[in-house]
């Protein structure tokens, strides 16, 4: 049986994890509305998806921090797709923690990139999902959300806010038949993590993470660690008592 064409909205569509997910949806013949800051990159992503079987791809240039632009984007998206079967919010930046400790403007800008812009988007999206009463909403958070570590607690706290917000949203939208998945990737080999010295054994490829995400969304998993072994790692890390945790240099 051929499944119906899925209507997919992706914000931060040029990110490595998002485009790896999009490739999987494209092979199922989906329609896309792709949103990102850089239109040249969007075009390269769109060409790839079309060659892989995407039926229609509509591009929209937008900075997620430009909150006033969100309703316009939503309008265009609905014109293009009609309704949204899957919305994936995938944009984000990895702040330089040390620099953010000295520069409040930089810190707040990074927090906006990773948190307030997401909350703003979710506000608009949640209203749409409440109206259409079906579909899935997936948000890329991070394993960093689970514990405040000295090496990246600005990023971690932004993602923690997103995760908690999503938990509330899950309960709210559940009542109208809309599913929310909070995705917590571990270390993924992407441009965002380039230049960090991450342990090779824990480093996953975007395609591998995407497979888990696409399956997780289809199976309506509420919180998804990707790859799966991070659930175990974070269980251990969350259970370290605070007096011990603060002495570790994680």
């Amino acid at each position: 049986m051929k499944t119906a064409v899925k209507k997919v909205l992706i914000i931060g569509a040029t990110s490595a994890i998002a485009s790896a997910c999009a490739r999987l949806w494209a092979t199922q013949g989906s329609d896309f509305f792709l949103v990102a800051r850089n239109v040249e990159k969007l075009q390269q992503t769109a060409a790839d998806l079309k060659a892989r079987g995407a039926t229609h791809v509509t591009l929209h240039e937008m900075d997620a921090n430009d909150i006033e632009a969100h309703p316009l984007m939503m309008g265009r998206c609905l014109t293009a797709l009609g309704q949204i079967d899957i919305a994936l919010i995938a944009h984000g930046t990895l702040p330089d923690q040390k620099a953010c400790e000295r520069d409040v403007h930089m810190a707040l800008k990074e927090f906006a990139n990773n948190c307030t812009s997401v909350i703003a988007l979710l506000t608009v999206l949640a209203m749409q999902f409440e109206t259409q009463r079906c579909g899935s909403l997936a948000i890329i958070s991070s394993v960093a959300a689970d514990r405040g570590r000295p090496s990246n607690y600005l990023y971690g706290s932004a993602k923690a806010a997103v995760s908690t917000y999503c938990e509330g949203l899950q309960a709210r939208l559940f009542k109208v038949g809309v599913h929310v998945t909070t995705i917590k990737p571990g270390f993924v080999d992407t441009p965002m993590t380039q230049g960090l010295s991450l342990p090779a054994a824990l480093l996953a490829q975007p395609a591998q993470v995407a497979q888990r995400i696409v399956k997780g969304i289809a199976n309506k998993v509420p919180t998804l660690y990707a790859p799966g072994f991070w659930a175990l790692i974070m269980l251990v890390i969350r259970s370290i008592p605070q007096p011990v945790f603060k002495r570790l240099n994680l």
């Binding site: 490595a16 040249e40 990159k41 390269q44 060409a47 079987g53 080999d189």
Partner: protein, 438 residues
């Protein structure tokens, strides 16, 4: 990426620093940056070249693997255009469901599109379809400090010819357009029969090659005397009835590198004898999925680790048809006497279809390929003997597999090297090229 990159044979052990690039439009700036900082570099795909042809003289490579997008695909004609870092496996994954296959595929699907062109790879159907380069319609070439050059047989034909088999030296191939081959099914109808010696191999090859798309033979590199060159002959064709299956076999993996090679004379000769005896003495028809047929070793990720920390070298030569039988006999006797070699030793007759590339490896005759665990004796004793035989027979070695051939041998066997050197981007230099040219 911070992890060092190596060639597939992990010899010579020259860790490369990879400078990645994710977007095609950002590549020129990245090339400028790397060459500005390190003076010279080399494009590096997925590290499936065995020796030092994929290692930069500066040890600073342009890591092309992340450029893995499709740019255009016309499934009515089977013409696809893709970024150079896409692997052949990724091409197959999108092409197979549409009824298309690679017209030429090497023994691994983990090579990149750019690498397949730069090494002008060939496969089990060389006698029917020639090398990979024959199916390339065009590609984009970035030469340092110049605007993009779009090469095809019509446009910039000299650069087109020099870049096919050009070992990544003429510029950075960053996208390519290729013609795929239509198939009805991915399954391969095979005929398998073992042969008792080299004469039988040549008789089988003469009889069967012309009738089949694919032809290859495994050879027992340790068999001596009257049994020299015994092996198993396999021919195949795409099935006319079957299904289009993208290979997704569960992969095994060698998780770590043992301190010494696990391949030794005892393990090898036991294995080879058993393997030979397990194959039928009468012709037997069968059917195989495409992955085990084309890519038996891709099943085991990181199989190159079994040769231990010192790595290994592959010896692949081709000898013109007139001298092939005598030279193959001599080569196999020399290898068996040395008691070295690998489980996977491959004999294959190459056809007479010319490649558009200047430095393409195959020539009409017979090719032999086998792996050896790295040791000093290899370079001091065995390889010089094999080189003497190949030289006397008018044959040559495959740069994509090589870490040892002498400059004299290379320049004699590939007289077009001067044309390639004249067209080389002065900012690109490999360890291989500096070894055989300078």
């Amino acid at each position: 990426m911070s992890t060092p990159l190596y060639s597939w044979g992990r010899f010579p052990r020259r860790p490369q620093r990879g400078h990645g690039c994710v977007w095609l439009d950002e590549l020129p700036a990245q090339i400028d940056r790397v060459i500005g900082a390190h003076h010279s570099s080399l494009p590096y795909g997925n590290g499936r070249s065995y020796g030092d042809s994929c290692l930069a003289a500066s040890d600073q490579v342009l890591h092309m693997r992340s450029l893995d997008r499709l740019i255009e695909a016309d499934w009515s004609t089977g013409v696809i255009k893709a970024e150079a870092g896409i692997t052949l496996a990724e091409v197959l994954a999108v092409a197979i469901p549409q009824g298309w296959f690679l017209p030429v595929t090497p023994g691994t699907q983990f090579a990149t599109l750019g690498g397949a062109i730069a090494n002008d790879v060939h496969g089990k159907n060389h006698h029917v379809r020639g090398t990979f380069g024959r199916h390339v319609l065009g590609f984009g070439l970035l030469r340092h400090g110049e605007p993009e050059v779009i090469c095809s047989p019509e446009d910039h034909p000299a650069l087109f010819a020099a870049s096919i088999g050009g070992l990544g030296l003429t510029g950075v191939i960053h996208w390519a357009q290729i013609q795929l081959m239509p198939i009805r099914a991915t399954q391969i109808d095979t005929t398998t029969v073992r042969f008792a010696n080299l004469a039988e191999f040549f008789a089988l090859s003469a009889e069967l090659d012309a009738r089949h798309e694919y032809s290859v033979a495994w050879v027992d590199c340790l068999a001596k005397g009257a049994e020299t060159g015994r092996g198993v002959f396999i021919v195949g064709d795409h099935a006319q009835y079957g299904s289009l299956e993208v290979g997704q076999r569960k992969k095994l993996s060698v998780p770590l590198t043992p301190p010494v090679s696990l391949i030794n004379k005892v393990s090898l000769s036991a294995f080879n004898s058993l393997y030979w005896r397990l194959h039928p003495s009468q012709r037997k028809q069968g059917r195989s999925a495409h992955e085990p047929f084309f890519y038996p070793l891709d099943r085991i990720l990181h199989w190159n680790r079994i040769y231990g920390r010192r790595g290994f070298q592959q010896y692949q030569c081709v000898v013109p048809a007139a001298n092939a039988e005598a030279a193959m006999g001599e080569l196999l006797r020399t290898i068996a006497d040395a008691g070295q070699g690998s489980f996977l030793a491959v004999l294959k007759r190459c056809g007479d279809i010319a490649s558009p590339g200047l430095l393409s490896f195959p020539l009409e005759g017979t090719s032999l390929a086998l792996d050896f665990a790295q040791s000093e004796a290899l370079e001091n004793v065995l390889f010089p003997r094999l080189d003497d035989i190949v030289r006397a027979a008018g044959g040559r070695l495959y740069p994509a597999k090589d870490a040892h051939m002498s400059g004299v041998d290379f320049r004699r066997a590939y007289p077009a090297w001067e044309q390639l050197e004249a067209l080389r981007d002065p900012s690109l230099m490999s360890r291989f090229w500096s070894r055989v040219i300078l």
